[in-house]
């Protein structure tokens, strides 16, 4: 595939990325600091949604435990940053730890040829076990290096600092730039990855695993690959998240957060990258607004949203909208073509 072709396929991705860049530079001048800090958290969650959109929407791997990698990344970052005294290597450690764990888990499930539904349940179980495991680490004997695990209360995360300069910490308004830049980079990376040979094979496996295998592709390896990459992206989200919030607690691994991740992708639509990102921002503000009142319970609303989408809009918002537009445009374009051919004949 030549470079020109790739560029053409990535045009929508680059358009959205450009909008993101504009937003990144305009937002701090327009919005209040409080909103910016909130946004940073939402951006971190959007990176998580993006990672699931990649592995589920394109890889066809039903991972219910994407928050496990997200939380693992956040914990690894926090523990490493406390021990190293700086964030530069800690970020790398976070990505490595989450990817390595995903690769190990993926080896067992993909090479065991566990079916997709089982995979969802297993990844969810892993997440819940992390939850109960880390919740119990409250005693002073549970520490890694200098970092106390803190059990239920979690750990305070050291802020990001400039690369290799441990004395200059970033302020919340700067973390916003970092988060937004990370989101855009991850988004473009995912958009590029799905146009590569690797990405196309992954989509092929999603569509028909047997056929892909008969064509000579080892589906286990490809699945393991995309699973590992997406875990690394989720870990980046985790690093941003614990910087946005300022601490990391075991609650990140709970069932509610695992469900939330799935809901973003379902609502946004599988098979798109921008849909889940947009859905994350939308639902983030919805749940924040719901948190301010006590009539409707958050769980209740999310449950209704999930059931509604599974039963009535199973494709999600973005693909449904795209379908609707192409359906409306197609007859018109066909008409135009017909008219043009008549003109030519004349």
């Amino acid at each position: 595939m030549n470079g020109n072709n790739t560029l053409r396929q990535m045009r929508p991705v680059l358009v959205f990325a450009f909008i993101g860049v504009v937003f990144m530079f305009v937002a701090p001048y327009v919005l209040q600091l409080f909103t910016i800090i909130n946004l940073t958290t939402a951006i971190a969650l959007a990176v998580l949604a993006l990672s699931l959109a990649l592995v589920w929407g394109y890889g066809g791997i039903l991972c219910f435990g994407q928050v496990a990698f997200f939380g693992l990344g956040a914990y690894a970052y926090t523990i490493a940053a406390i021990n190293f005294g700086g964030s530069t290597w800690a970020i790398l450690v976070a990505i490595m730890v989450a990817s390595a764990f995903a690769a190990l888990l993926g080896y067992f499930v993909f090479f065991g040829r566990v079916s997709d539904v089982y995979l969802g349940v297993i990844t969810l179980t892993v997440t819940l076990i992390f939850f109960s495991l880390i919740r119990r680490t409250s005693g002073p004997e549970y520490k890694i290096g200098n970092a106390l695990m803190g059990g239920f209360n979690g750990i305070t995360s050291p802020p990001l600092n400039l690369p290799w300069d441990t004395s200059s910490f970033l302020f919340p308004e700067h973390v916003f730039y970092v988060a937004m830049a990370a989101l855009i980079l991850c988004y473009v990376f995912c958009g590029w990855l799905v146009t590569t040979h690797f990405g196309r094979v992954c989509v092929g496996i999603r569509e028909n695993e047997l056929r892909a295998e008969l064509l000579g592709y080892d589906s286990r390896l490809y699945k393991l690959g995309i699973f590992t990459v997406s875990a690394g992206i989720a870990a980046i989200g985790g690093v941003l998240f614990c910087n946005g919030v300022g601490r990391i607690t075991p609650d990140v691994f709970n069932l509610y957060n695992a469900a939330l991740t799935i809901i973003w992708v379902i609502v946004g639509g599988r098979g798109t990258l921008i849909g889940p990102i947009a859905a994350t921002f939308g639902l983030f503000y919805l749940t924040s607004a719901l948190g301010g009142q006590s009539v409707l319970n958050n769980n209740l609303v999310l449950g209704v949203i999930l059931i509604f989408f599974v039963l009535l809009v199973p494709k999600g918002v973005a693909p449904t909208l795209t379908d609707w537009f192409t359906k409306r445009r197609k007859p018109r374009r066909a008409n135009r073509r017909r008219r043009r051919s008549q003109v030519n004949k004349a």
Partner: protein, 289 residues
Amino acid sequence: MDLVVAVLFQLVYGIANLALISLGLAIIFGMMRVINLAHGEFLMLGGYTVVVATNAGVNIWIAMLILAPLVVGIIGVIVERLLIRWLYGRMVDTLLATWGLSLLLIGLVTSIFGASTATTISPPLGIIRLGDYSASGYELFLIGVTIVLFIAVFATLKMTKLGLVARGTMQNPEMSSALGVSTTQVYMVTFGLGAAVTGLAGGLLAPVTGVLPTIGATYIAKAFITVISGGASILAGTAAGSILLGGINGIFAFITGPTIGEVALLVAAIILLRLMPRGITGRFFRKSL
């Protein structure tokens, strides 16, 4: 010697506990190929039924053994009619829809009863002596109930007309409906029975664990991993999964504490699935029920 007996008792109780919380899930999964992610919430509803009923003055035994399965069974039938029946054959969508249901039920119960523990009830039976050690009589009772429940499910499936029709429908729905069986009714009843067994388990465990809207999450990880490790056979699979994983959990918990026990359970299950992707009964006892 007394120590050995006490440890063995705990081990057996752990296994029975695992089997009890998994059985309802296994019935629904084994018969209908539906993974019910709201399983934990069915357990939770069973617990709430018992708490509400005993607070209203109902005898605790009636509340646990009759009301809990009845109420949750009815809820199961309603859920099947409103939600599950649209999604047969679409496993992933069923999974997601039942997850939505799980959130919905947590939210509903939180709205009604509040987020904290409802009034707790104490286990009704006293302690029994094992030489120098003592064990809870209620735990012994739970072990007994689990065994009785397994026998009852076996008898229902093997010896009654309902069980025969249900098994036939699961094997070949077209043939069954050609022979005059209303398959939709069979699905409804099977799901209801699975839910009822789950409700019974939740009700029985309520005095031990207390009830919380979010208590389902503490059960489901173990229940899912047991059922998946067990494989497709309902009784043999659940029993084999419970004995293996409950045994590993118990032994590790005895040596190092409950946290490592759970991790060991999970690691064992994942390694098991690498070796036998279709569960224990996918490889051994394949003809069993």
